[in-house]
């Protein structure tokens, strides 16, 4: 038996594999295809205080080895999430992480306190969505704003606090260090990379929002480099994501310094991919005589 247990803040995950926010709905959508209890953690679609409508279609488009999305954070809002989605998720034996987003610091604080009051023990601050006009990425690209936000939420929320960083900065290490200094328990990275595509027949952008976030295998090398950089900058655990499609990709992130990995776009292509990645990591460990996953974290030789 290999031991794949990892600790992130106050959470103990049975394995390092999670779902990336926004790519696994509220869990329900995939429960027919995946035994949710096998997941290290379930990270749900970003939640705001009030329901959000999202952007007009077309919202997604494919690019070579990747996809662009400009969903615009459509979500059902906090109240509906707590009343209608949470009871279902609670039926599974996995850690739950709620991804939250606000337009103001006050909204993030209210979201975290209300989630804590309903028994939620882990949140991920989405400060990196490229697809909304206010809030979102502003917090992720200004050190001052990110520092203030993390500090305020840390004060209000006792549970595990994860800050999800944007790749849209010149030095991601500074944002990671800042989050750590202000009390984050873990850092997750990366969110999608701002990008675009044009239809040359119509001369129009492919997405109605003009630009969107690029995800999938196309961004993996960028994400991996950023995880590796951040691993040397902070002591808190890192959740790595960006183009993880199989166990081998996941192991690369772990070797680069990730304690946990999140699977996003791959779920769309293959609903069973999270399970295949969990199994694949275990096989790799067995084949290579690795007893505990901790032996692999930051195991890169360079």
């Amino acid at each position: 038996m290999v031991n794949t247990e990892v600790t992130i803040g106050k959470l103990t995950l049975k394995n390092p594999v999670m779902t990336a926010s926004g790519t696994f709905g509220y869990g329900e959508e995939y429960s027919e295809f995946v035994d949710l209890s096998r997941l290290g953690a379930l990270v749900v679609k970003g939640i705001s205080l009030k329901p959000m409508e999202g952007n007009p279609p077309p919202r997604i488009s494919e690019t070579p080895c990747g996809m662009l999305n400009a969903i615009g954070l459509q979500n059902i809002g906090l109240k509906k999430f707590i009343n209608e989605k949470l009871p279902f998720i609670k039926g599974f034996d996995t850690c739950l992480i709620v991804n939250i987003l606000g337009r103001t610091i006050d909204e993030y604080v209210r979201l975290s306190t209300e989630l804590e009051a309903s028994g939620l023990s882990a949140i991920e601050l989405n400060v990196s969505c490229p697809n909304v006009k206010s809030g979102g990425i502003e917090f992720g690209t200004s050190q001052k704003a990110l520092g203030r936000l993390t500090r305020k939420v840390r004060k209000a929320f006792k549970g595990t606090l994860i800050v999800k960083l944007s790749p849209k900065v010149s030095d991601i290490r500074e944002f990671a260090r800042l989050s750590e200094a202000e009390g984050a328990d873990a850092i997750s990275l990366i969110n999608t990379v701002p990008a675009m595509a044009i239809n040359i027949k119509t001369r129009m952008p492919v997405l109605s929002n003009v630009t969107g976030g690029l995800s999938g295998p196309a961004i993996k090398p960028i994400a991996l480099r950023m995880v590796w950089e951040v691993a040397s900058a902070v002591k808190i655990p890192i959740i790595g994501m960006g183009g993880i499609m199989n166990a081998s990709d996941a192991i690369e992130f772990i070797l680069a310094g990730a304690t946990g990995v999140a699977v996003g776009t791959s779920n769309f292509r293959n609903p069973a991919s999270v399970i295949e990645i969990i199994d694949g990591i275990e096989s790799y460990m067995r084949e290579n005589g690795i007893k505990h996953i901790k032996e692999l974290i930051r195991g890169i030789i360079c």
């Binding site: 926004g22 790519t23 696994f24 709905g25 959508e29 995939y30 429960s31 027919e32 295809f33 995946v34 035994d35 679609k45 409508e53 999202g54 007009p56 279609p57 077309p58 919202r59 997604i60 488009s61 494919e62 070579p64 080895c65 990747g66 996809m67 999305n69 969903i71 459509q74 999938g216 295998p217 499609m245 776009t265 779920n267 769309f268 292509r269 293959n270 609903p271 069973a272």
Partner: protein
């Protein structure tokens, strides 16, 4: 994968072997799949499958296709080559194994007795409506139009199914020289028609105006680019009079008057 929710052993994610991939005419193919598991879920007319067309990462996503015809161990897909994914699909040989998710989405509701179904198919929209036509046979009035003769598919099968079939082409190369909308105008409205339609967005939009004017009710099947097909990514949203709805989940079939064009 097992259908865990119902605790039964019905599969909606499975591997299927390609039995046939026949070129019907310019750009149109008929793909026949044989699922490699026994107990797959039976589809209904209007539902669709997500097909993995490549094991490489480009194209990355599965592609959505309507169920054209179905028997116990065969799924047939009628498709048109549009871009990268369908071009790869057109070169797939018998014996290849594809990853399949489905059936997904809702289906065309059966018409109540007092209505005559009026089925309007534009271009490859016939793929989605064929199983409904098959089911209703001579109970329905069918209009099928395409740009030109070489884009009409499965005509012999259709002619064998319905006697009230109007075929039209934009350039007059086969059947009536008309668009489906023009062909519609020639129909006498002395009965209660219930519309069912699938085709290009512009055609459906004009059809919505037409039904409003004539006081007709009906259903249309919509297309949006899809990533998951399962309701998770929210990529396939369409604006309805009650906010955004997911084409893959709340659709693909919507009451025609519900769409905010």
């Amino acid at each position: 994968m097992k259908d865990n929710i119902k605790g039964s052993n019905i599969f909606r994610h499975f591997k299927a072997e390609v039995k046939d991939n026949i070129e019907l005419n310019k750009n149109h193919f008929l793909l026949t799949l044989s699922p490699l598991v026994e107990n797959i879920m039976m589809p209904a007319g209007g539902q669709f499958y997500m097909l993995g067309v490549s094991t490489l990462y480009d194209p990355l996503m599965k592609r959505p296709f309507s169920v054209f015809r179905f028997s116990e161990n065969r799924i047939q897909i009628l498709y048109r080559v549009r871009g990268k994914g369908t071009a790869i699909m057109s070169r797939i040989n018998s014996g290849c194994v594809l990853d399949v998710i489905g059936p997904l989405g809702n289906s065309y509701p059966m018409p109540p007795k007092k209505y005559t179904p009026l089925i309007v198919a534009g271009g490859i929209g016939i793929a989605s409506l064929f199983s409904l036509i098959h089911c209703l046979k001579d109970k329905s009035v069918v209009i099928y139009g395409a740009k030109t003769k070489s884009e009409l598919c499965m005509l012999d099968d259709l002619l064998g199914l319905v006697s009230g079939l109007t075929v039209c082409t934009d350039d007059g190369s086969y059947g009536k020289k008309a668009t489906v909308l023009e062909a519609l105008n020639d129909i006498a409205y002395d009965r209660d028609y219930l519309l069912y339609s699938c085709g290009p967005k512009e055609m459906l939009r004009k059809l919505a105006q037409f039904t409003l004017k004539k006081g007709l009710k009906g259903y249309i099947s919509l297309e949006e680019t899809m990533a998951c097909g399962l309701g998770a990514c929210l990529g396939c949203a369409v604006k309805t009079k009650n906010g955004y709805k997911r084409v893959c989940k709340e659709g693909t079939v919507f009451p025609i008057q519900d769409i905010a064009w």
